[in-house]
Symmetry: C2
Subunit: 296 residues, 2 copies
């Protein structure tokens, strides 16, 4: 089982990602895809002349302020354009994908966040009317049933509040929560960077492997959006996910490369699971025989 997060910045490179998904799907792997949509949302906002406000939390996180107007744009861009075209692209290559957002069958439930934002004067401002959420529940039964039907769920990061509101949620966190709910062995996060770097200006400073005891160090190191990814992966590892990877989506075969450890590998759990490894080896062998992978 693999939960795969495809970053919103990879819109242009869906082709090679979808090719990998097709190979894993044909090999019988159970897959759930989570996608982003921040860039498409920003682009549509620009075209509509809607100014997107950024807020910075007291702990230094920067995020998009989700007003009602921005939520609508997010729904159209992310749960509309990105989700529907990604599903069509997967169908084009022969994957039985099904596009979902959190409202569908109450797939993802969330509570509205109360946002603490720093004002330019350094004061803390409380924002209560934001349409972003903290995930409270994943309907794993629905996902399991769709997977049993041979479908590949493609999930937009949009959740449902107890009052029936749609809420924007973080895609990396969502992927982690889904991996935990489904007891997935693998969580792969593809984005536009090669992995976690010690020094952002030096691609050679890539951290190749991270273990559970390195949490504090890694969180101190990670900046901006990368911090969310690192937090999501540590949460997943602590809950039993065995292999977490942050890797580049720009590789020729990005999902296979990531599963082989290219990028930053987060090693969770200690018990060896030979069954899983054996299945994985079969997939490698099959992929290599199809000319899909070169093994160095």
């Amino acid at each position: 089982m693999i939960v795969l997060k495809i970053g919103g910045s990879l819109n242009g490179n869906f082709n090679s990602v979808c090719g990998d998904i097709k190979r894993l799907y044909d090999a019988g792997e159970r897959l759930v895809i989570v996608h982003g949509g921040g860039e498409t949302t920003n682009e549509l906002s620009r075209r509509l002349g809607i100014e997107v406000e950024k807020v910075t939390s007291p702990s230094g996180f920067e995020s998009r302020r989700t007003t009602k107007e921005v939520l609508e744009v997010f729904v159209m861009a992310c749960a509309g354009k990105v989700n529907r075209f990604l599903v069509a692209e997967l169908q084009r290559v022969g994957v039985q994908a099904i596009g979902l957002c959190g409202a569908d069958g109450r797939l993802i439930e969330a509570e509205r966040k109360v946002i603490k934002a720093l004002t330019p004067e350094g004061k803390v401002r409380i924002i209560k009317d934001d349409y972003s959420g903290k995930i409270t529940r994943v309907n794993s039964e629905l996902l399991e049933r769709l997977l049993d039907m041979g479908l590949v769920p493609v999930v937009a990061p949009l959740a449902l509040s107890p009052l029936g509101e749609l809420l924007n949620v973080d895609g990396d966190t969502l992927a982690s929560k889904i991996a935990l709910a489904l007891r997935s062995e693998n969580l792969v996060i593809l984005s536009d960077v090669p992995g976690l770097l010690r020094d952002l200006s030096d691609p050679g400073s890539l951290i190749k492997e991270v273990s559970l005891d390195m949490e504090e160090e890694m969180l101190a190191l990670a900046k901006g959006r990368m911090k969310k990814k690192v937090m999501a992966l540590f949460e997943a590892m602590k809950g039993g996910v065995k292999r977490g990877v942050i890797a580049s989506g720009y590789d020729e075969s990005p999902v296979f490369s990531a599963l082989q450890g290219k990028g930053t590998l987060f090693k969770g759990g200690s018990e060896p699971d030979l069954g899983v490894d054996r299945a994985r080896r079969e997939i490698w062998k099959w992929s290599i025989s199809q000319g899909a992978l070169e093994v160095s």
Copy 2:
């Protein structure tokens, strides 16, 4: 079983429609919803400064020209905004809705249309690069399985071509094809008019009942979008749908009113199906006991 089409012009009146859906859902009725999205698409096009070209076919049908750019807007507005918010509204009232478009599990397949359009000079122009489709297949197995899971499919009129392209399809035709594929007894089309009128300027000229032998007369009578609805209903009746209704969505209880024959009732089939009628009577009785219906 009821297939319900909610016209795109009813966006503002989803509340009462969703209330009716909730009552039918609670009574155990199997429901599939199809929605429109033309108005939301036109509005988003306007906001984005995209000019939507209208084309008129030699037989007099006017339709929106779906360029690649217009298709993207349609995906965002109709399969994004309308679909996701309608599902959220249904969840808010307690209906386990699931939003779908034709790409999801290859739900709706279509071929790209070759459009014949009249030029202002009265010549016929052939348009091959349009992103609108003629429905070729409904994946009824997927719909049945979702219905068996207690879900209410909410379908956007967007189909998948053999090449994996998303194509805009007519919502009324889609509802009719779904009703046929699922052998639904009922097909209800709600829009912003009270039904089929003999004289468009006189609401008193409503045609109350239409039988199979009136096809020619009714098609000659119906104009513009109404012609599509009438064609869709005749196709459904000929395929075995017993009760087709075109009715106003602005009623207080629009789905129940339509099922009771308010609007224009298309009576298909001749064999009495007492089982269905009995089930229906139980729903009426239940609804009346809940104060949901007044019976005159």
